[in-house]
């Protein structure tokens, strides 16, 4: 009985550590050139305000008005992953999406608007 419990605990711990490793390495998929890109609109004070409007129009339906997600498949955007990401990482992710997990590609938005969303997301961290 104790051995079964220890086995289950080891599996659970292993799975948690693997998940954490996957989460922390997520941005490692971002090409170096994209990762290094700074937000060209970062110096514009209105960029985050405009980004909030774009967020409301396109992102809020899934990630909710407070960007907390739905606690299920739509993740919160107040997260360590976003805090540690570079501007370029986030812009790359918005452009690519994660189609296999339900996040659409936002390459359909003009690049300037994706940078405005990046400014907004950084401002709420």
């Amino acid at each position: 009985m104790t051995r079964t419990f220890s086995g289950l605990l080891t599996i659970a711990l292993g799975a948690t550590l693997s998940l954490a490793a996957v989460q922390s390495t997520r941005w490692q998929h971002v090409p170096a050139r994209d990762h290094a890109q700074a937000n060209p609109l970062a110096s514009q004070p209105d960029a985050a305000v405009a980004g909030a409007l774009i967020y409301k129009e396109h992102c809020q339906q899934c990630h909710k008005a407070n960007a907390q997600g739905d606690g299920n498949k739509r993740p919160s955007l107040h997260s360590e992953r976003l805090r540690t990401a570079s501007d370029g990482d986030i812009e790359w992710f918005l452009r690519q999406g994660d189609l296999g997990h339900g996040m659409p590609s936002w390459s359909s938005l003009p690049q300037a608007q994706r940078w405005q969303i990046v400014a907004y997301l950084k401002s709420i961290q």
Partner: protein, 295 residues
Amino acid sequence: MFRKAIISSHTIIFCLPLSIYTIGRAQEKPYFVTYSHDLEEPGNLEIETKTALARPEGGNHYGATAMELEYGTRAWWTTELYLDGQTTPQDSTLFTGWRLENRLRPLMREHAINPLLYIEYENTSGADKTILEVTGHDGQTDLAESNGQSRREHQHEAELKLILSSNLKAWNISENFIAEKDLSHAPWEFGYAVGLTRPLRSAAGSRECTFCAEKFITGIEGYGGLGDTFSLTMRDTSHYLAPLIGWQLPRGARLSFSPGFGLTDTSLARVYRVGLAFEFAQFGNWFHGSNGGGE
């Protein structure tokens, strides 16, 4: 009396989306014939009417409307149902058929050129004049027949498209290659559509507005037939060039307009198109007890 019937049928076609309009978010290119690689967001339902107004040589003016119900099944898969109708003054108003299509994105990453596969089955009559694509040797003589004659012809067609599309900064460039086959007896017919769009301003303003430049998307599309397997030639094929403008209305609705100009004798001289779209966010969740729309 007849005129009244036409007006009421048009009123129903145009006002149905308005009457059920609650939450709308639409951000698509104002193409009428060309497809880009933009797919519907998963769980969202878009309802759009696409109306074509034209007069073929030797025929009457007509208005043909396709009502499109587009659902984001997955982030990489969009399903659409079209319901087509047509009205010709001094003739009749009729339902002309339906189409079911699927667009699938085989590559999960964004590339310089993004391929999409399009598969469609259509069950329409010969009276369908929506001109959602031009293939083979389609021409204005097909559109000049009376509804009484043309409705007797039934078309069960399969259509395949290879959609190639690129988003570069604020521009979209799309190319579609079309192969269509009547499932009974006819040869494979081929066609193409190409398009280019760009918003008037790429960055968004910091205030909500209706008439700002970023709310308007302009562009141009060209489309036409490329013959069929019996006669793989450009002779007697139709080709059109059509400027486009799309206006992102408040609450996410979208209005599009495009005057198209025929480039060959086989083509219609002009075809005017009007589109009106509404998007229902997270429609799939309506049946799971929670509206996914952001509050």
